[in-house]
């Protein structure tokens, strides 16, 4: 008996629907349970597109070399940095403190000790705020750079005083890059300002082929860049400028007013529109709420103006005790040059008469 074509189609469709529903149910039951440990990264540095000739380590000339004016302290590592924009795309600088990068943007940062590359860190924007964070560890002969273990690598390179450099794990990347308003930290209007701070600790000479803010604007690689003079931290004197810049680069990625720790009310980042230094306003004379283990008795202020020895910030930045140190990761040696600068800056501040004490977290 013949079946009308429409009825047959419906029957087939219903059968298919039931089959699909059963398949979906089975697939859901069979799906492996995976934690959210981040996006999958290329297995090898050479697969990220950094080099046109991996064997010769020839960096793709289309990538942009850059150097932030306030470098992050990594135990004296020598660093080289590159970024890449997809052809025809631009950075949106509408928010001066939170540049928006197009999908496909890539960053690389190579860390070398004693003339040997040890690791190259990598970021790639997948779009809609999703980023790959990865670290590639160099082989001893410098010929291979596979993806570092997911948990990182301890004892990756010997440092003075029996310390060692550790390659961070992938979740460690997010500690710094996921704690502020923008995941990209060293590539910003302030960090790329042509008005570079000569007093910045460990200031690097600008590589000849490096781009800065002016070059990016000139090449049309930035949209909505603010007009006006080159960004600069307003400060009472060069020492304060350098100190605030150091705090911005080394502490401000976590301690800012827009990230996960904003409720602490401890802002060491410099916003381009900040009229006064947030670092001063949120640390001078501000009492600690939960003093960490290892802090000397009597040290109960974030910064005690005029008194470095009574300033918790200096004790924490000057410690590498794992319970006390700041930053809590990414460094195994105290940055003595920076500590000396910060101590001079704090000592140079007038002691407060008798200010009404604020308490950490009061603006929560």
């Amino acid at each position: 008996m013949s079946v009308p074509i429409i009825a047959r189609s419906r029957r087939t469709g219903a059968t298919l629907g039931v089959a699909l529903a059963l398949s979906a149910l089975l697939a859901a039951l069979a799906e492996p349970v995976q934690p959210s440990l981040g996006e999958t990264a290329p297995a090898d540095l050479f697969a990220t597109g950094l080099y046109t000739d991996p064997a010769a380590r020839t960096v793709d000339p289309r990538h942009h070399v850059f150097s932030p004016q306030y470098p992050l302290w990594t135990d004296g590592a020598a660093k080289r940095r590159w970024m890449s924009l997809p052809p025809g795309t631009r950075i949106d600088a509408s928010d001066p403190d939170r540049w928006a990068f197009p999908a496909g943007t890539r960053f690389w940062k190579e860390f070398a000790f004693d003339g040997h590359p040890v690791e190259t860190r990598y970021m790639e924007h997948l779009g809609e705020g999703r980023w790959i964070f990865a670290t590639y560890e160099w082989s001893a002969d410098g010929q291979q750079a596979p993806l570092a273990p997911e948990r990182g690598r301890a004892d990756a390179w010997p440092l003075p005083d029996g310390r060692t450099h550790a390659i961070p794990g992938r979740t460690d990347c997010r500690v710094c890059h996921g704690s502020g308003p923008a995941p990209v930290l060293g590539f910003s209007a302030l960090q790329l300002s042509p008005d570079r701070d000569p007093g910045a600790p460990h200031a690097e000479p600008l590589p000849l082929d490096a781009v800065d803010l002016a070059v990016l604007v000139e090449r049309g690689l930035i949209a909505n860049a603010p007009a006006g003079p080159a960004p600069r931290i307003p400060a009472a004197d060069p020492m304060e400028r350098a100190a605030l810049g150091y705090l911005h680069a080394n502490c401000g990625h976590c301690h800012n007013d827009r990230g996960a720790l904003a409720d602490l009310g401890f802002d060491l980042a410099h916003g381009l529109n900040d009229g006064t230094a947030a670092a001063r306003a949120t640390s001078f004379g501000v009492a600690l709420k939960d003093p960490p283990a290892g802090l000397p008795d009597g040290v109960d202020l974030r910064i005690a103006p005029g008194d470095p020895a009574a300033s918790a910030l200096l004790h924490r930045a000057g410690s590498r005790d794992r319970l006390l140190q700041m930053p809590p990761l990414g460094t195994a040696l105290v940055d003595e040059e920076a500590i000396a600068l910060l101590a001079r800056w704090i000592a140079n501040q007038p002691r407060a008469g008798d200010p009404a004490p604020q308490t950490e977290g009061d603006n929560r």
């Binding site: 039931v18 959210s36 500690v175 710094c176 996960a260 960490p292 283990a293 290892g294 006390l324 809590p328």
Partner: protein
């Protein structure tokens, strides 16, 4: 048509059996109620083993549920740690809330939602998940000390960690200011 009815009946029957099975094991409640899921995970993942102080009861050592998940008792004075050797590298106290080892002395945290002393009082759900993922206080601070088995728990899904956070937010708050850890040698 007969075939279609048979398939539909089979599908409905299997679904009914599945629902009954899930309901009878509490799994359905866990799927629909994150707090129930969180409670299940907390009770089966060993959280009480360390975050609830233990005492000697009629059945031997057992967790004191009147202080459930409130961490190391602030009023409990602990003496100097024992001398440890390479063969025995760490030790715990009778409440199973304080531990000594090469890292110093660690105390289990107060996981209850006490607004003054609970460790989660300033921690968002995202920070809690990050904390378990990377083993850092607040997800970005100092390392969490042994013997907290975060390397195992970091393999939980976001949904499960979120459920645990949700459950811990609504248990009874217990004021208990857990001391800061002690560095090695103190």
């Amino acid at each position: 048509m007969m075939f279609l009815r048979a398939v539909a009946t089979l599908f409905l029957g299997l679904s009914f059996i599945l629902v009954v099975a899930l309901s009878s094991t509490g799994l359905l409640a866990q799927e629909t109620d994150p707090v129930a899921r969180g409670e299940y995970l907390v009770n089966t993942s060993g959280c009480h083993d360390c975050h609830t102080p233990w005492g000697m009861g009629p059945n031997g050592p057992e967790p004191d549920m009147s202080r459930a998940l409130s961490g190391h008792p602030a009023d409990l004075q602990i003496g100097p740690p024992p001398d440890l050797s390479e063969e025995w590298v760490w030790a715990g106290n009778p409440t199973n809330t304080a531990y000594v080892g090469p890292w110093g002395v660690s105390f289990t945290a107060n996981l209850t939602p006490d607004p003054e002393t609970g460790v989660l009082r300033d921690m968002s759900e995202g920070q809690f998940i990050d904390t378990i993922r990377n083993g850092r206080h607040m997800g970005q601070g100092r390392p969490i000390l042994p013997p907290m088995p975060w390397p195992a728990y970091r393999n939980m899904t976001d949904e499960d960690l979120s459920a645990i956070y949700g459950y811990l937010q609504q248990i009874d708050p217990i004021p208990n200011a857990v001391p800061e850890p002690l560095p090695p040698g103190q």
